[in-house]
Every structure is written in structure tokens, then in C-alpha cells.
Symmetry: C2
Subunit: 390 residues, 2 copies
């Protein structure tokens, strides 16, 4: 029996000692233990040479410290939280008030679910091939707006934007506000470029959930030829707690085949697909269970690709997977897909929905298999829509 | 006669007292006076309440300080550099060693030259309309990689990338390395969103030249449907010295008509087109004179658009105009256009060129009309291509 008496802090629960995600409270870095948080600054002297890293006011110095420090810290934390008595100075606090846990450097959003890419292709380009010919050769991605990444719980103001009507373009609040349920990878380690997939793994500190809110009417009108911009840049939500990559050791799976060879710079010796199971709740109703194991490109391939041209990977870079969609209807990770472009409404908490209405709340959670039959948790990413500013 | 005895520091020269651009040397912030620099930290006590801002080691605190501080600093600097005797503590130093003068927050690249957009459309999509229907309604843009913005003079390593051949995709050094001659706007002031074009002006600290290096073979294969990514993200060069927006008061012009009304959120009372005249030198030969006054969308409209959905503008955001191309062949701002997709080689320093070869140097400079017939200078952005890493 550990000194932490929390029913959610057992190996049977997703935030038990097998998980130990990091977050930042107004008082500094903390680790999540069940449904409480253990602030690290008051117990920094238990961490030896890592004391400064755990005393910082964001995760960025820890991100920069690299794999060896991350492993050492996790091992020491595991000792401390599973001990029978509390370390001197330790107190547990509520999870409330967690802030964005790191300063986002560059934010890249990929597009690595074949089901999502094909669904969107069918909806946006009904007369063309659903999948473009580059998709099975390149982990397609684009840069998003780092300055509007927000922590889970931040209200999402319905964005204005320009959209096309039969009378020409108009400007006003979006009528097609959507989600994208994604998995995000938080980068760290030394600034580096031209990483192999094996090396890339050493530049990933941990994993969070991402909701890449999207205004589909704005996106559809603006996105050619340079890609999504205003349809995405108003807000991207991430979990307040980042689960270390080390916790996913037994969740590794082989992604589905692409149907063609990939170029050598993208070949993984042992693939980094992950069996992360997402759940999307819309106003409290479970509407989708997107399976991350269905993604065709892994984060290791994504990082190898994005750094292949000499571009550097920096601590704080956030790599999102792209919308996670599986083949089944109830595995789709966006409401664009769930409602098939708005033509097939979804029953949500007793009401019909296509896209998001003001006051709607979306909550995404996830777990992955852990050691000895346990579950590794990814902290929720939640947001409620507030009316457009006047 | 001022105490600064530099033949390049007169009202007849682009870096005379009418210009006064800011940069950062290893010793801190400096202002450019002719072909020398005046470090500000040693004379900080001449700036009253602004002393801390000029003593910083990057421009970011000054960017955050906002329009009133910028004007006050420029007025005080003008007094000091035009005085007959040197302020106590002042020394002049060479321009060498200037570093990236600010930490780039988000980097957005627009696409606001109609000639460029039409040329690229004709070259990349020969069977379609050269200009897409959204272009005259939206300042089209996308997010670039902030982490690979580098200061003028940084060598540009030929990037690797994936490109398509008749035998399928291959990976290796780009064979179509190109430039994009652009004008960049450095943002500051309080974090803000939903700016009108008039308000947007108060969020622009100054102007620099940008070379958005591009690998055209990589770009052509990757860019659908999410836009440019690896074809651009390896490096973007910016001037070491940022000319304050205030210096461009008499350079304002009305942009060419779009051919349709724009939505009210993009209407400028008095347009912020700027008569900046660029020159592109390829291995010392002047190959193009792109006219910025030919751009269809202004920076004020670009900022109003990018913040219209609630996205915040932060100090350190860099807004690039997009390639500056005029209607004439010798006004094109990329070698893709100058060589018409590589089919019409250009004569450069006695050799034929289509795209960049290892060892090539590109230098972009610019001036704009200043008060009383003077010229306002934009500092050069220069780069030399080094061979691809093995």
C-alpha cells in the first residue's frame, strides 16, 4: 500500500502508478496521481541533479534535458509515489487550475489516418479520387498556429470567418464548427535534424490528447492551394497532463500496411504504432471510439519526415497525428465525418446534431494497454463552445 | 554635421538618419547608422524609461512595448544620432556578427502578388485557371516553420526531400532550389485579436526583407491537399536589421484593384500599400527588380484577416508578404518564374541557370521613398548555397 490513498491511484485505474503524467499548476510542475496532483517543487530536494528541472514553472527545461533525464526522473518518481510513506514536504492537491504545460515552439498537424483522409476527400472533392497519390508515400502534414494552442478546459469562442455562399463570399460566425480528435507528441531533447525513425523516438517526451477545432465552411473556401489556415488557427486544445512516452512500451503495434514500399528514410525497424483507444463524448454521450492503432504513419516516421530536409526539431515542438478515424462509422474522429458533411445528423443527448452548437461540450479521453494488464491514461481534452463575439 | 562621420549616414543614402533600423549584435541591441552600428546598451541611460528595453539581448521586449514606446525611442534616437557631439558612452562598431534580432513566435507566409500567384498557377496547374476563385476575396496564406527562420548571411544547406519521378518517388537533394523575394512585417504591441486594418498597423513594429527558400520539386509533390511543408521548412532568411514602420510614412501607395469588392473586415480607409523597390542579385548580377507596390493585399489587410477568427497576434510574429512579382519578366521574385519552370534558363554571371547551384549566392536589397526625396533602406538578406549533407 502506497502513501497515496486515492482510489484512482491503483494499477487497475488509468492514472495509477504505471502512468504518472506531468502537468503545470500555478505553483509549478506536478505529477498526476489518480485524481490528484503531487507538486514537485516542494519535494525538489528528493531529485538530486534534477531538482532545478522539477522546480521550473513550465515543462520546457525538462523537455530540453533529454531522454536520460526523463528516464531518471520517472524512475525516481515511481519510487517516491509507491513508497509506503510520504516523502518529506509532499502534499497532494486537486487537479484544478492546470495551465498549458509547455511553451509550444512549432506546431505541426499531420493527416495520418487513411480513413479520415479518404472520408474528407470524398466529402470535399466528391468528383476526384478520395486519396491523393502522395498520401501513401509521404506523412502529409502542415504547420498550425502555435500561439493559439490552449490547455484543456479553455472555452472555445465560435470563430468568425469568410465562407462562400451562392451570393458570393460572406463573413460571420462559422456554421460548421467541428472537432478533430487527435493524439499529440511533445518533443524534447537536443535541437536536431535529419533524424531516423529510431533517433526520432529520443526526441519525444510524452503524449497528450489534442482537439484541433475546425471551422469547415471557412476551411472549404480558403484551403486551396496553400492548405488550412483560418479554418483551424483560432484554437487547438491539448490535455493539461502529458503522459511520458515510456509508459507506452507495451502499447506498440504495427500500423496497417500502406500498400506500397516506403522510401528508406521512413522505414522503421520495429514500428511505433500505438494501441491508444480514444473516446469522444458530445454533451456527455459517447459518440465515437477512434482507434489510434488504425493510423498509417507513426510519430517516429512523422518526425523523420519533417526533419529530413534539415529542419530542426526543438523542445516544445508539438506534433499532432491528424484526426484519428477508424473504418467504422462510430470510429470517426470528426463530426464532419460522423454527419457525412452535415447530411446525416447524429443523435446527441436527445437532440439532433451535425456540427457544434453554442453551449456544446466535447470531451476526448483515451487509454492504452500498460504492463501486467493495466491501463495507461491520457488526460482528457475538453472544451465548451461559447457564442461568437459581437 | 552629425558626430557620426560615415559617408553612408546622410539623407542621400538609404541608411541615413531617416531610416535607423534595429538589429542585435552579440553585445545587445544596436541601431544601424550608415555602414556602422551604434550599440544601445552602453548609452542606455540616455533613454529614460526605455533604458531596460534598449538594454535587452533581443528585440522582443521592445516589440512587446508597443507603438508609443517605439515612437518615443525613435524620436530620442534621432536626436542622439543627429546631434553635433556624441552622447556619453557612444561608440560605433562594424555591422558584422548581427544575430537573428528577435525570437520568431508564429511565422505566416502570404501569397499576395497576383502576378506571382498567376505565374505559379500556370506553371504548377497548366490545365486549370491560373488564379483560384478565392484569391481576390481572401489574403491567402499559410503557417511556416518559425524554428528555421535564420538571419541573413546564414549558409543555406541544399535540402533533401522526396520528389516524384517517372519511376515513382525518390529521396535525395533537391534539384530545384529556389528563392522567394518577400517583404516581412515584424509584429509587436499587446497580444490582440480581431484587429481592423487600422488597428493592425499598431501591431507592426518594422519591416525586413525575407527570402523564403523553396525546393520546388519537393513542393510540387507534397503540397496537395494541405499546402507547402518540407519544400519550405528547411530555412527562411530575414534581414539582420529591421526598419521601423514609421520610416515608411511617405512610401504609402494604393494597391492595384482586385476587380471585386472586398468584405468590410478587409476594407482600409487609406490603404497600406508600400512603394518598396526590391532588387535581386544572383552571383552579383542584378536579375530582377520586384515592385512591392504591385502587391494586391497589404500587411494591414493580412493582419486583419489572420486575426479575424479570434487568433491572437503576438510580439515576434513574422508576417511575410509572399513572393513579390511584378508583371514584367525582370520583375519576377522567384527563379521558378524567371526561368518559367526551368524551361527558359537565365544568364547569370556568364553562366546559364534555371535553379540554384551549390556555391550560388543570392542577395536581396530594397529601398522605399523617404521624406524630402530621401531613400529608406531595408537591410539586405543574403545567403549562399552549400552542398547537401551526406
Amino acid at each position: 500500500m502506497t502513501w497515496i490513498e486515492d482510489p484512482a491511484f491503483t494499477a487497475d485505474e488509468p492514472f495509477g502508478p504505471q502512468t504518472l503524467p506531468y502537468g503545470v499548476l500555478p505553483t509549478g510542475i506536478a505529477v498526476r496521481v489518480g485524481d490528484q496532483a503531487l507538486p514537485l517543487r516542494p519535494i525538489a530536494d528528493h531529485f538530486g541533479r534534477l531538482a532545478d528541472l522539477v522546480s521550473a514553472s513550465s515543462l520546457n527545461p525538462l523537455l530540453a534535458a533529454g531522454r536520460t533525464a526523463w528516464s531518471e526522473l520517472r524512475a525516481r518518481l515511481t519510487e517516491l509515489v509507491t513508497a509506503s510513506s510520504a516523502p518529506r514536504g509532499a502534499t497532494l492537491v486537486p487537479l484544478d487550475g492546470a495551465v498549458l504545460p509547455f511553451d509550444v515552439a512549432d506546431y505541426v498537424d499531420f493527416y495520418s489516418s487513411r480513413n479520415h483522409a479518404e472520408n474528407v476527400g470524398r466529402i470535399f472533392r466528391p468528383d476526384g479520387e478520395p486519396l491523393l497519390p502522395n498520401w501513401t508515400h509521404i506523412p502529409i502534414g502542415y504547420h498550425g498556429r502555435a500561439g493559439t494552442v490552449v490547455v484543456s478546459g479553455t472555452p472555445i469562442v465560435r470563430p468568425h470567418g469568410q465562407r462562400r455562399t451562392s451570393d458570393g463570399p460572406v463573413f460571420g460566425p462559422t456554421g460548421r464548427l467541428d472537432i478533430e480528435a487527435e493524439v499529440g507528441f511533445v518533443c524534447g531533447g537536443p535541437v536536431a535534424s535529419r533524424l531516423t525513425p529510431s533517433q526520432a523516438v529520443d526526441h519525444v517526451f510524452g503524449v497528450a490528447l489534442v482537439n484541433d477545432w475546425s471551422a469547415r465552411d471557412v476551411q472549404a473556401w480558403e484551403y486551396q492551394p496553400l492548405g488550412p489556415f483560418l479554418g483551424k488557427s483560432f484554437a487547438t486544445s491539448v490535455s493539461a497532463w502529458v503522459t511520458p512516452l515510456e509508459a507506452f512500451a507495451v502499447a506498440r503495434v504495427t500500423p496497417p500496411p500502406l500498400g506500397n514500399d516506403v522510401l528508406p528514410y521512413l522505414v522503421e525497424e520495429r514500428p511505433w504504432g500505438l494501441d491508444i483507444r480514444l473516446e469522444v463524448e458530445w454533451n456527455g454521450d459517447l459518440v465515437s471510439k477512434p482507434p489510434f492503432r488504425a493510423m498509417s504513419w507513426t510519430f517516429a516516421q512523422q518526425l523523420a519526415h519533417l526533419s529530413a530536409n534539415g529542419a530542426t526539431v526543438r523542445p516544445g515542438d508539438l506534433i499532432a497525428s491528424g484526426t484519428v478515424s477508424g473504418p467504422a462509422r462510430d470510429e470517426r474522429g470528426s463530426f464532419l465525418e460522423l454527419s457525412w458533411g452535415g447530411r446525416e445528423p447524429v443523435r446527441v443527448a436527445g437532440e439532433e446534431r451535425t456540427f457544434l452548437e453554442d453551449g456544446d461540450t466535447v470531451r476526448i479521453t483515451a487509454t492504452a494497454p500498460g504492463e501486467h494488464g493495466s491501463l495507461v491514461g491520457l488526460a482528457e481534452v475538453v472544451g465548451t463552445i461559447t457564442p461568437a463575439d459581437v
